[in-house]
């Protein structure tokens, strides 16, 4: 049975698309047939982060209006088997999305895929509601920063009240916290909310902590999901999160400042990899 996973946050710029791309790629790397859908109609960016922007022919709106078949709009990833991308429309407005239209697409995708990832736009308006409506599980991407934590709390409330599962009074959407851009050095200095603080406030299970890393910008520059960079701490942290999602018991890494490094290491190698 296919699972619909919505990647959401309320706040913009916290790493939803980076996380969607990484997570979808990670699931496919582990042999799960995975499709990742961009719900940010009018401002699509998943195509850029996945590096398929030049190959977009049709989009989700074309499929909903019947101008294109679903399999024509799906873009097959050339790096990882079993990974597909369904882009958002750049030219239409978001009114073209309907719960029924999206529902039909998800129903059709569910026949072929194990996981359907929905990359939500920022906000709690239409686009975000469409992205979370069909969710079985939600990954809430949060930065250790006050406005992001508040907005995450808000979106958690929206998931609990506005999802299809909530409307049908079924078992609620399973929620996961993904804490991104975590900087242990600043946490240690008391300048950044600690993981435990965020967990205490949001009170949902932790899926992973992605450390602040230079490799994330490099990955988006080149259009390769950061999880493919398995030397980077962020890439490894995403791979751990995917493993945990699939039920593996992985200890959390990159939570503390590196103690092993001597003075020399700290002076000369202190930048985030």
């Amino acid at each position: 049975m296919a699972q619909v996973i919505t990647v959401t946050s309320g706040k913009g710029g916290v790493g939803k698309t980076t996380s969607s791309a990484a997570f979808a790629t990670g699931l496919a790397q582990r042999g799960k047939r995975t499709v990742v859908i961009d719900f940010d109609v009018g401002l699509r960016n998943l195509d850029l982060i996945m590096g398929v922007e030049r190959r977009v022919v049709f989009d989700i709106i074309n499929v909903i209006t019947g101008e294109a078949k679903l399999n024509q709009a799906l873009i097959k990833d050339k790096r990882v088997d079993g990974l597909y991308i369904l882009p958002a429309s750049q030219t239409r407005d978001k009114d073209a999305l309907t719960h029924e239209g999206v529902g039909k697409i998800i129903e059709e995708l569910a026949k072929e895929f194990d996981y359907i990832l929905c990359d939500s736009p920022a906000g709690i308006e239409r686009g975000a509601l469409h992205a979370l409506y069909h969710a079985d599980q939600a990954i809430v991407v949060t930065n250790p920063e006050v406005s992001s934590v508040r907005d995450s709390d808000r979106i958690l409330g929206v998931i609990q009240s506005r999802s299809k599962r909530a409307e049908e009074k079924r078992e609620p959407v399973k929620q996961h916290l993904l804490l991104t851009r975590y900087d242990p050095v600043r946490v240690e200095r008391g300048e950044m909310l600690k993981l435990d603080d965020v967990l205490e406030i949001l009170a949902i299970p932790l899926l992973g902590v992605i450390p602040e890393s230079e490799s994330v910008l490099k990955a988006s520059n080149s259009g390769n999901p950061v999880i493919l960079d398995n030397e980077s701490t962020a890439g490894q942290a995403y791979a751990d999160a995917v493993a945990r999602f699939l039920g593996e018991d992985k200890p959390h890494r990159f939570l503390d400042t590196e103690k092993k490094k001597g003075l020399f290491g700290r002076l000369f190698g202190g930048r985030a990899a």
Binding site: R54, R55, F58, A68, Q72, N221, S222, R271
Partner: protein, 93 residues
């Protein structure tokens, strides 16, 4: 910290920022052109298929549209799977 970088071993890695710029220039050039115009691809596909369908029976599901946007040139490839003799799926209608 910057003067210290001098002593760090520099990895001979292709700078990713130039890749970012190249990718943006190509995709934005295409998007700016099509911003005000209609999205012509669905219509183009429909009309092409109508022409092909006049001569052969085709399955709309077996049509593949591939586009590769490049600098200065893009390639549009439309693949139509034609039913062969014997192996053809015949529509029940």
């Amino acid at each position: 910290m910057s003067w210290l970088n001098f002593f760090r071993s520099q990895k001979p890695e292709a700078p990713s920022a130039s890749a970012a710029k190249d990718r943006l220039q190509i995709i934005l050039a295409h998007e700016r052109v099509s911003r005000d115009g209609d999205d012509f691809l669905p219509k183009l596909q429909k009309e092409l298929l109508e022409v092909v369908a006049r001569y052969v029976k085709i399955d709309a599901d077996k049509v593949k549209v591939d586009l590769e946007r490049g600098q200065g040139m893009s390639t549009l490839a439309i693949g139509v799977e034609l039913p062969g003799n014997g192996t053809a799926k015949r529509s029940a209608a």
